[in-house]
């Protein structure tokens, strides 16, 4: 069965420190990979996506992610976080077919 794993449910980090949010998925077949951000009381917004090409993908708000096929991972990183980055982050994978599979989310809290 297809699955997406976000091992860290909560990540506290100090302002201006770097952060990495981890995402692993179950299959090594061709996939499309996404990170979404959800601010309080809002829907999900696309941060970045990997479809093909360069394994390092840059997104909005200074975030980037690296696709690692051998480790079936797509970790999200930011070199210096801001208070405004406090939100819930979801990793999503589209395997073959029309369905997306989402991780359970990582709550990032930036501490002043």
């Amino acid at each position: 069965a297809q699955s997406v794993t976000q091992l860290d449910s909560q990540v506290p980090v100090f302002e201006e420190a770097p952060v990495e949010l981890r995402c692993n998925y179950s299959s090594s077949v061709s996939v499309y990979l996404f990170w979404y951000v959800q601010y309080p009381n809002q829907g999900l917004q696309l941060l970045l996506k990997y479809l093909s090409g360069s394994t390092l993908v840059k997104g909005i708000n200074g975030f980037e992610a690296e696709f690692n096929k051998s480790q079936t991972s797509f970790h999200l990183r930011k070199p210096s976080v801001h208070i405004s980055d406090t939100a819930e982050y979801f990793c999503a994978v589209k395997f073959t077919g029309n369905q997306f599979y989402f991780g359970t989310g990582t709550s990032l809290t930036v501490i002043p």
Binding site: S9, Y36, Q42, K49, F90, K94, N98, Q99, F100, F102
Partner: protein, 117 residues
């Protein structure tokens, strides 16, 4: 910009009531989805629709039904609301086969908070 609009942001309903959650998208997307989001469980797929009048069960369809009479509109129906259906409901849409040209991105609405008392 893609717009996915959920008609109700906050609803409070009584146990046993019939509840309709409406979703409209303006991008001519073939595929539409209903998810529910609960703390610690992430997003769980309730139903999705490939195209008009086409629907398939997701991971947790029990207690729900859907309707897709027009391409732009996808409704989630709770026939008899129960307290365990208190949740945030998210509608989403994307292109179908044309998605290969448009990045396969799924777009979300703002969410509907449903409380069943």
């Amino acid at each position: 910009d893609v717009k996915v609009t959920q008609s109700s942001r906050y609803l409070v309903k009584r146990t046993g009531e019939k509840v309709f959650l409406e979703c409209v998208q303006d991008m001519d997307h073939e595929n539409m989805f209903w998810y529910r989001q609960d703390p610690g469980l992430g997003l769980r797929l309730i139903y999705f629709s490939y195209d008009v009048k086409m629907k398939e069960k997701g991971d947790i369809p029990e207690g729900y039904s859907v309707s897709r009479e027009k391409k732009e509109r996808f409704s989630l129906i709770l026939e008899s609301a129960s307290t365990n259906q208190t949740s945030m409901y998210l509608c989403a849409s994307k292109f179908g086969s044309r998605g290969l040209r448009f990045g396969n991105t799924i777009y979300f609405g703002e969410g509907s908070w449903l409380t069943v008392v």
